[in-house]
């Protein structure tokens, strides 16, 4: 159970990191949305792994302590946390001399990134939790 959970989180972390990297690179190279000054790729990769590992830990704990309702409760809790985390980019303060147009785009840009680990973690869940 723990082994499966571990590999689930690592796989989801890895795939979401790749997806985030592609998203960041395409927006930077094609649309000139360069936020590398405030959001480095190492930060993004770290956040992907961290959130996927955290999700697996909570999922395992939920199923362990509440075998019947754990999965449902976890999914509700997971959705609430993902949506609540969108406040982060909305309230984030960029450097004051940052480009004004990019400052306006930043919340939308970063909000999309917040969904990558969650979506990939959920996509891989049936594979690791048969």
């Amino acid at each position: 159970m723990f082994k499966k959970s571990f590999f689930h989180s690592i796989s989801a972390g890895l795939i979401s990191s790749i997806a985030c990297y592609l998203y960041v690179s395409i927006l930077r190279d094609e649309f000139m949305y360069d936020f590398s000054e405030v959001l480095s790729i190492s930060n993004v990769v770290g956040a992907c792994f961290f959130s996927c590992i955290l999700a697996s830990i909570f999922h395992t704990l939920a199923n362990h302590f509440l075998p019947k309702m754990g999965d449902i409760l976890f999914h509700v809790f997971f959705a609430v946390i993902v949506f609540a985390s969108l406040l982060g980019p909305m309230l984030f303060k960029l450097p004051l001399d940052f480009d004004k147009d990019l400052t306006l785009i930043f919340p939308t840009y970063a909000m999309v990134l917040h969904f990558f680990p969650a979506l990939i973690w959920l996509t891989l869940k049936p594979i690791f939790n048969k």
């Binding site: 984030f92 004051l96 930043f106």
Partner: protein, 177 residues
């Protein structure tokens, strides 16, 4: 003839001396200025600033500051807050595009100078004293200082505990001849 020369010379000297008053120095604002506002909650900068500075330490009476800060150049580091700052509730940038300061008097103070004049924000004019430190180095100089703005006086935003009423404004204006 000699009798006429000296009185004539005196008259000429007197007339020319009338035009020899201390000429006031006009300073050009350099690009690396900074206009920053801070409070417990809110902080930011204004990126666009312009104006006319006539300043001579020896002739404060005819020194003058006529300055303008473009409201739309506000940057708080957050896109939503920038937009809100330009809204009717705050600076109402559509109607009042600039913050203006026109000096009426400059006084020498302990630490430098006090530039006194009318500060106009969102159409409200207020007699304001701005303490300034002036440093000159050859053909370059700088004006730096700190003053406080009570936002309720200028009808900026609504009364709330989230944003303090008093904002600290720090400025640094390098100039050159």
């Amino acid at each position: 003839m000699k009798k006429v020369i000296y009185p004539a010379l005196a008259v000429v000297l007197m007339l020319t001396s009338a035009f020899m008053s201390v000429t006031n120095q006009e300073w050009k604002i350099k690009d690396d200025y900074s206009i920053k506002f801070t409070s417990k909650d809110l902080s930011g900068i204004f990126k666009e600033f312009s104006g006319e500075i006539l300043f001579n330490e020896k002739d404060l009476a005819s020194s003058k500051f006529d300055l303008e800060v473009k409201v739309s150049s506000i940057s708080t580091g957050n896109g939503m807050m920038n937009k809100k700052a330009l809204s009717k509730e705050w600076f109402d940038a559509a109607q009042f595009s600039a913050i203006k300061f026109i000096s009426s008097k400059i006084e020498k103070s302990d630490k430098g100078y006090a530039i006194i004049g009318d500060l106009t924000i969102k159409g409200t004019k207020k007699y304001t004293k701005i303490p300034t430190v002036y440093k000159q180095n050859g053909s370059e100089a700088s004006f730096t200082g700190v003053f406080y703005v009570k936002r309720s006086v200028f009808n900026l935003g609504s009364a709330s505990d989230a944003v303090p009423d008093v904002l600290k404004v720090e400025f640094s204006v390098p100039v050159s001849k």
